[in-house]
C-alpha cells in the first residue's frame, strides 16, 4: 500500500493564483487588454495572449481583418487575467539595441539552404541532434504564402523546402508553442521575430511549464512584418504571381520577390502605408531576449549573422563547429547600427512617449 500513499502526494488540492491588477476595475480582463493594447494600436500580433486564453474555442483569435480580437468577449471571457499576465505590451517596456552577447559571428550551413546562411535551421536541427530538444517549431507557408506552423522532429522533414526562408507575414507560433509544450518529452525549440521572443519570455516568467519545456529560443532580426491580406494584395498589384513565387527578401531598402520566371523589386518605403501599427511602435531589432539572434545584416551575402547570447545557444554553436556542419566567419555588429537606431526611434510613436519626454 506504500505505493498508493506515494501517488496521492503527487498533487495538491489547494493552491493560489495571483491575479493581475485591472486598470479598468469594472471590466473583464479582455476589455482591459483591448483598452490598453489593442485599441491603442500597441498590439504586435505576437499572439502570446491567444496561446494561453482558456476560453476555447471562441477565445482570443484573429478576426477577419487579420488583427487580434475576441468577438464575443462580453459573453465568453472567463475573466481569468491570463492574457494580461503574458502580453508583452500590456505594461510595455520597449527594449532596443544589440543586447548582450558572448559571440557575434557569421555562419553558413553546409547542410541546409535558407534565407541567408540557413543558420536558424542549422541551430534548431543541431539542437535536436544533441538531444537538447525533441522538436522545433518552424514557420512554413501554403501556396498563397499564408503562414502555418510545423513541428520539426527529424532533419528529414527539412525536405519540405518551404520551412526555411523568410515569410513577411505574421505567424501563429505561440499558440502552437503551447501545444508543443504539452506534447514534448525533452523540450521545444522555437524561432520567431523579437515580439514573439518577448512573448516566450513572458510565458516563461508566468508559467513553469514554459520555463521547463522551452529549451531554445532563436530570435530573428526584424524591422517589420505584415498582415497576410494586406501584403498579398499589395504584391499582387505589383505583379507578383504567388504560384511562381519562391523567395521574398528585404535588403538595402528594397523588397525583392523572386519568382521562377522574373523578379519584382520595389522600395520598402512603399509598404509604409500597410506597416502594422504594432511594428510602428516596436523598438527591438535584434531580439535582445533570445538565446541567439539571427539576421541578414552584419555578414556577407550567403551568410547569417548570429549573436550568441546564452549558454544553451553557445553549446549548440560548439556542436555545429565540432561536427563541421557550417562555415564560420566574423560578424560585424557595427553594420547593424543603422537599423538598430531606426527602430529605437520608433519609441516616439508609442502613445505617452512624447508626454514623458516633455515632463
Amino acid at each position: 500500500m506504500a505505493a498508493v500513499a506515494a501517488e496521492t502526494t503527487t498533487g495538491q488540492s489547494e493552491w493560489e493564483v495571483a491575479v493581475p491588477e485591472k486598470p479598468l476595475k469594472e471590466k473583464v480582463y479582455f476589455e482591459n487588454l483591448k483598452a490598453q493594447v489593442i485599441d491603442t494600436e500597441l498590439c504586435s500580433r505576437c499572439l502570446t495572449c491567444a496561446a494561453v486564453c482558456p476560453a476555447l474555442p471562441e477565445g482570443i483569435t484573429l478576426t477577419a481583418d487579420d488583427k487580434v480580437g475576441f468577438p464575443d468577449y462580453e459573453e465568453k471571457c472567463l475573466d481569468c487575467g491570463a492574457c494580461v499576465r503574458v502580453c508583452p505590451r500590456f505594461e510595455y517596456e520597449p527594449k532596443s539595441g544589440l543586447g548582450e552577447y558572448t559571440d557575434f559571428i557569421a555562419g553558413q550551413s553546409k547542410r541546409f539552404k535558407g534565407q541567408d546562411g540557413a543558420m536558424v535551421t542549422e541551430l534548431i536541427v543541431s539542437a535536436i541532434e544533441m538531444g537538447l530538444i525533441d522538436r522545433g517549431l518552424f514557420v512554413g507557408r501554403d501556396n498563397r504564402w499564408a503562414t502555418n506552423i510545423f513541428h520539426v522532429r527529424d532533419p528529414e522533414q527539412l525536405a519540405i523546402t518551404t520551412l526555411g526562408g523568410t515569410k513577411y507575414t505574421f505567424a501563429s507560433v505561440l499558440p502552437e508553442l503551447k501545444r508543443a509544450v504539452l506534447l514534448t518529452k525533452s523540450g521545444v525549440g522555437v524561432v520567431g521575430t523579437p515580439c514573439i521572443v518577448s512573448g516566450v519570455r513572458k510565458l516563461q516568467q508566468e508559467f513553469p511549464i514554459f520555463r521547463e519545456k522551452v529549451k531554445l529560443v532563436v530570435g530573428l532580426f526584424c524591422t517589420e512584418n505584415f498582415h497576410h491580406t494586406e501584403i498579398s494584395d499589395y504584391l499582387q498589384k505589383k505583379g507578383v504571381d504567388f504560384s511562381k513565387l519562391v523567395k521574398t527578401d528585404i535588403t538595402m531598402g528594397k523588397f525583392i520577390a523572386t519568382m521562377t520566371n522574373k523578379t519584382v523589386k520595389f522600395k520598402v518605403k512603399a509598404l509604409e502605408k500597410i506597416l502594422p501599427s504594432g511594428c510602428n511602435v516596436c523598438t527591438d531589432f535584434t531580439a535582445v531576449e533570445a538565446d541567439a539572434s539571427v539576421g541578414s545584416v552584419g555578414s556577407a551575402a550567403g551568410f547569417s549573422t548570429v549573436a550568441v547570447r546564452n549558454e544553451n545557444a553557445r553549446r549548440v554553436v560548439e556542436f555545429i563547429k565540432k561536427r563541421g556542419y557550417a562555415d564560420f566567419g566574423e560578424g560585424k555588429p557595427e553594420e547593424l547600427a543603422f537599423l538598430v537606431g531606426h527602430k529605437k526611434k520608433r519609441a516616439e510613436n508609442i502613445p505617452g512617449f512624447q508626454d514623458q519626454e516633455d515632463k
Binding site: M1, V4, A5, T8, S13, W15, E16, F207
Partner: protein, 252 residues
C-alpha cells in the same frame, strides 16, 4: 534407435485381461454408457464463465472504444448512434468473433457481459453482423430442452449426469473493479485561474474564492478541490487547458 516391443506377459496375465475385456463388453450390452447429449431435448450445463453470445448495456458504456481496439479478430466495429446521442457503440460480427471475450475483460464500464448462449442460427452471413440495438436484448430463444446434462468422472469412467432442470442461460455480470481516483493539481504555479474546472465539475468538488469583492481585496484567487466530494470522473482533467490536473489514486 529404440524399438517399442510388446511387454512380456505370462499366460495367466493374458487370460485375466481377456476376461476383463469380455466383462466390459457384456456390461455395455446390458447397460450401455453413451456420452451423447441429446440436444436439443437436453442441454449441457455450462459454467458461469462460459464465453458465449455477448450482451451489451449502453447505459454503462463510456464510449472508450477499448473493446474495438482489443478485439484480435477485428469483429467489433464502433457505430455512431443517431443524434442527439451521437456516441459510438460496439457492434459484433459473429462471422469473425473467436469468443475470446477480451472485449468483456477490457470493458471498464462493465457494459459488455457474457451469456451461455452458444447456438444462434442465422439465415445468411450478413445477419451475423449484430448491431448495437440487437445486443441489448438476447436473441429469440426457442427452448425444447427438459434436462440438463453434466459430465462426471466416476470410477475412472466418464458418466453423464442428467438432471430434470433447465439451466439458466444468463449470468450476473461481475462488476468492473473500480480504482478510487481523485483529482489533484500537479503544477499549481501554472494555473491560469480560469475556473473552467470549477465550471465543469458536476459534483461541486472544486471551489474558488471568486465571489464578489473577495478577489479584489485579496489579490489572489484561492482554488480548492474537496477530495470528499470528488468522484474521480476526470472531467476537470480533460477540460483544463494547461493540463495541470491529474487523477491520482485515492489514499487509504
Amino acid at each position: 534407435m529404440k524399438k517399442v516391443s510388446v511387454s512380456e506377459q505370462g499366460l495367466v496375465e493374458k487370460a485375466k485381461r481377456h476376461a476383463a475385456a469380455v466383462g466390459v463388453a457384456m456390461k455395455e450390452s446390458v447397460t450401455p454408457l453413451t456420452a451423447t447429449v441429446f440436444y436439443p431435448r437436453e442441454r449441457k450445463k455450462m459454467p458461469d464463465n462460459f464465453r458465449g453470445y455477448l450482451l451489451f448495456d449502453p447505459e454503462k458504456c463510456i464510449n472508450c472504444w477499448e473493446c474495438a481496439f482489443i478485439c484480435p479478430a477485428n469483429a467489433i466495429q464502433m457505430k455512431k448512434a443517431p443524434a442527439p446521442n451521437n456516441r459510438f457503440y460496439p457492434t459484433v460480427d459473429y462471422g469473425k468473433c473467436i469468443f475470446c471475450h477480451f472485449c468483456i475483460d477490457s470493458c471498464s464500464g462493465g457494459a459488455l457481459r457474457t451469456t451461455k448462449i452458444h447456438d444462434v442460427a442465422y439465415r445468411e452471413m450478413g445477419e451475423m453482423l449484430t448491431l448495437t440495438e440487437e445486443m441489448i436484448e438476447p436473441p429469440e430463444i426457442i427452448r425444447e430442452d427438459k434436462k440438463s446434462v453434466e459430465y462426471e468422472i466416476e470410477k475412472d469412467d466418464l458418466h453423464l449426469k442428467r438432471t430434470r432442470e433447465v439451466d439458466g442461460l444468463f449470468v450476473e455480470p461481475t462488476p468492473p473493479v473500480e480504482i478510487p481516483m481523485v483529482s489533484q493539481c500537479v503544477d499549481r504555479a501554472s494555473c491560469l485561474g480560469c475556473r473552467v474546472c470549477e465550471e465543469v465539475c458536476e459534483s461541486g468538488a472544486i471551489s474558488s474564492s471568486s465571489a464578489e469583492g473577495v478577489l479584489e481585496a485579496e489579490g489572489v484567487l484561492r482554488m480548492k478541490i474537496d477530495i470528499e466530494k470528488c468522484t474521480g470522473c476526470g472531467l476537470c482533467v480533460k477540460e483544463c487547458s494547461m493540463q495541470i490536473l491529474r487523477l491520482v489514486r485515492r489514499g487509504k
